[in-house]
């Protein structure tokens, strides 16, 4: 998974300074040195790193930080905040023109992945936004580029506008817009040939297309594995075309993805999508904030285990296992368990620490709602001791009382009780399985989300 290497390095660095009760300037220097190396190794642009480290240093040696009770953690907080800043905020949406069609131009260096991304984007627009896009083959230079787009169009069963390799890309783009209007295509995606940002002639061609078709979006497609030059390329394309966003491709590789951090910092243009594979449905909206937090605190099994060990009491775990075996597990135990898990940190952070959790079936796109957990807690706490030990006695009037006491409604109380019964059944099955020992702890629980 991309970014993993960077995340590991940073975690390792944080670990060293985390528990320190006293942080000296030398400590800060040592840490910033390591952070610097981690970023450079991840291909974050040299100048971006330099500025970043300068800011962190200034803030880290600040009196308030140094004098705090947990200076180590404060320093880490500074790094985290700065890094999150660097990556940018929330996900940005794709433009919609007031009067269709919305026109999108795809630009970038050779081999970045423009054509494939054109297909993926069209697929995304149809699937997620119910649109009817027209693909435009304006790469007349690379051998068989038009064939490539036409093949993708076929696979997607979508129209592709092309005029062969003899027509000029400007004419192709112009005619494509007219064609889209006639055929009620509400999006037009123009695939342009890859070119070097220093190739004046070819950059002029893009400027001409831009003037002619007045695109609503110009997406710069960038290979996530790009090194230090990513910044020069992005800056140059942006200066010449004023791009509206970036698509980062090949993020399914094992790159540390420094380009992602540098480009945003230098051009201030948002990364809107990420390519996650060669298939046409492997394009995902990019969430900078989530990516930042993954780099910073997650995808980290070690600290997950560490947290579990810290929060889960050994003896308690054993008792629990017994309870699971003889099915004497009560709602009180459930509440305890939930508390322990929650002490370990926000739940989606925990999920984020499990590498690949985002890819697991069922866990994918889980939005952990902390509020809902609060509700569950409130409901259980509104029960009497007797009710918690033997939920079977909870009849209609008791349910009403519990609902009132917790400020929830009866159907929520019902749902919780059902979940609990299901869970108990599951535990029984699990512990009865021959040779399979109950693991105890929180391992076997199905959490109510």
């Amino acid at each position: 998974m991309a970014f993993e290497g960077l995340a590991d390095r940073l975690q390792h660095t944080f670990q060293k300074i985390k528990g320190k009760g006293k942080v000296t300037e030398a400590d800060v220097k040592e840490m910033t040195r390591e952070v610097r190396l981690a970023l450079l190794e991840a291909d974050v642009n040299f100048k971006v790193v330099k500025d970043f480290i300068k800011r962190v240093k200034e803030r880290a040696v600040d009196q308030e930080v140094m004098a705090s009770l947990t200076p180590g953690q404060q320093v880490i907080k500074v790094v985290k905040e700065e890094l999150t800043d660097l990556m940018g905020g929330e996900q940005s949406k794709i433009a919609v023109a007031n009067r269709p069609p919305t026109v999108i131009m795809m630009v970038g260096l050779q081999g970045a992945g423009k054509t494939t991304t054109t297909g993926k984007l069209a697929n995304h627009l149809r699937k997620k936004h119910n649109r009817n896009p027209l693909l435009v083959a304006a790469d007349v230079y690379r051998p068989a580029a038009i064939n490539q787009l036409e093949t993708l169009g076929n696979q997607l069963d979508m129209p592709v506008f092309s005029k062969g390799t003899e027509a000029s890309p400007v004419d192709i783009a112009n005619e494509a817009i007219a064609h889209a209007k006639d055929n009620h295509n509400d999006y037009v995606i123009i695939d342009t040939a890859g070119r070097l940002h220093v190739d004046e002639h070819l950059m002029d061609e893009l400027k001409q297309i831009r003037t002619n078709v007045q695109p609503d979006e110009i997406f710069l497609v960038v290979d996530a594995m790009t090194g230090q030059d990513a910044v020069n390329v992005a800056e140059s394309f942006n200066d010449q075309l004023d791009v509206t966003g970036v698509v980062l491709t090949k993020l399914d590789g094992d790159t540390r993805g420094g380009a992602a951090l540098s480009i945003k910092a230098v051009t201030d243009k948002p990364i809107k999508f990420a390519g996650m594979g060669e298939k046409l449905d492997q394009l995902e909206p990019f969430h900078p904030d989530r990516m930042a937090s993954r780099i910073l605190g997650m995808g980290d099994v070690l600290s997950l285990i560490e947290k579990a060990q810290n929060e889960v009491d050994e003896d308690q775990a054993k008792q629990l296992e017994q309870k699971m075996r003889d099915a004497s597990f009560t709602l009180d135990d459930f509440l305890d368990q939930m508390g322990q898990v929650r002490n370990m940190g926000p739940l989606d952070e925990l999920l984020g620490m499990i590498p690949g959790a985002d890819k697991m079936k069922g866990l994918k796109n889980v939005q952990v709602d902390e509020k809902q957990l609060n509700h569950v807690e409130a409901i259980i706490k509104s029960m009497t001791k007797q009710e918690r030990e033997d939920p079977g006695i909870i009849n209609a009037s008791r349910k009403k009382r519990i609902a009132k006491g917790s400020g929830r409604n009866v159907s929520e109380v019902n749902r919780l009780l059902k979940q609990f019964t299901d869970m108990k059944k599951m535990m029984k099955q699990m512990t009865n399985q021959k040779g399979k020992k109950g693991k105890g702890g929180f391992g076997g629980f199905k959490l109510p989300f």
């Binding site: 050779q110 690379r142 051998p143 093949t151 940002h197 220093v198 090194g227 060669e278």
Partner: protein
């Protein structure tokens, strides 16, 4: 930035000398003239980078020497700037740190104060990293003395594999060889058509199956066909694949096994194509592709951009794979043999343009 500025000045002077329309380099040139010169100089530095790759060792050594001579004392600033230049060229933190450490040690050992002595040391060390224990010779393609030679081309998506095959085919044909191309990328849309266009351009036959078929089967057929045609060289295209996709890497290993089985001693070359704009991930590419296909050489493409491909230094520092060719454009003739000295010079030359902007 003094180290760089001086380096720039020095190179500027050289440029001026080399230009036909030389403006007298006296102290009284007008601002306009200076500006003009700078524009020209910018151009010529860019030109230089391209032609620089075919430049002789002497001119590289000369320039690097000049460069260092401009910096008077060898101090922390000097090293910091050197570090910056190298990292900006994608040489990679580890290799740069190692290099700087070694240079510092040399400085101590030889008691160097005056930077003029550094010129030797830097050029020595850089070239040493590149060559390691190898002899300083340009690496040629290894071909069979007799019969069919098979060259397998591998790499991640979009680095320039297919284009490189077109260029290589041209080069080999110009040497009087009979070349056949195998359309082993059966996955990417339009990949087969793309190779066929190259086949037409260079007048080489292309052996293909339909899209989606088994690449190993295509390669098998291509070998049989090349044999029966009495071809000299078979160039095998493969689909781009990210090195962390285990099943795709296994597929590649299978293709290689077919080649080994069908032609004794083959593949004579397995060339890993690397995009010069790639950062540190190229190291991971080199390692993983080597594991599955035993890479024998690197082709560094897209050096006509502003990227410096310094990652090659890191790869050489850790692995024993020589760079055999560089790609300098999209035309069929834009492929050159690799010259380490010119390349090392290029690492510095490009940095100049950048700081100027």
């Amino acid at each position: 930035m003094s180290f760089l500025k001086k380096l720039k000045e020095k190179i500027t002077k050289k440029e001026e000398k080399e230009q036909v329309m030389t403006v007298e380099t006296n102290d009284e040139v007008s601002d306009a003239e200076v500006e003009q010169d700078q524009a020209k100089e910018r151009e010529s530095i860019a030109d230089k980078f391209i032609s620089g790759l075919s430049k002789t060792r002497d001119s590289f050594a000369e320039k690097l020497n000049d460069l260092v001579a401009q910096y008077r004392t060898v101090d922390e600033d000097f090293f910091e700037e050197l570090e910056e230049i190298l990292i900006t060229a994608d040489v990679g933190v580890n290799t740069v740190m190692e290099l700087i450490d070694e240079l510092k040690m040399e400085v101590k050992r030889r008691n160097i104060k005056d930077s003029s002595e550094m010129k030797e040391v830097i050029s020595e060390k850089l070239v040493e990293i590149y060559y390691g224990d190898d002899t300083e010779e340009m690496e040629e393609l290894q071909l069979a003395e007799e019969g069919l030679s098979v060259i397998l081309i591998v790499g991640v998506n979009g680095v320039g594999k297919t284009t490189t095959i077109g260029k290589l085919a041209k080069r080999l044909k110009d040497q009087g060889k009979n070349v056949v191309l195998a359309a082993g990328d059966t996955f990417r849309a339009g990949a087969i058509d793309q190779l066929e266009v190259w086949g037409e351009r260079v007048n080489a036959s292309v052996i293909k199956h339909s899209e989606g078929s088994d690449p190993a089967a295509v390669i098998y057929d291509a070998i049989q066909s090349a044999k029966s045609k009495g071809a000299d060289v078979l160039l095998c295209d493969t689909a781009g694949r990210l090195q962390n996709k285990v099943n795709l890497m296994n597929e590649l290993a299978k293709v290689k096994r077919i080649i080994e089985r069908e032609v004794p001693g083959a593949p004579h070359e397995t060339l890993l194509v690397l995009d010069a704009t790639t950062g540190q991930n190229a190291l991971s590419q080199a390692k993983t592709f080597s594991q599955s296909t035993d890479v024998s050489g690197i082709v560094l493409t897209k050096l006509d951009g502003t990227a410096k491909g310094g990652i090659v230094m890191a790869i050489r520092n850790e692995m024993d794979i020589p760079v055999k060719f560089v790609g300098l454009g999209e035309k069929v003739t834009d492929l050159q043999s690799f010259d380490a000295h010119a390349f090392v010079y290029g690492l510095f030359a490009n940095m100049l343009e950048e700081t100027e902007q």
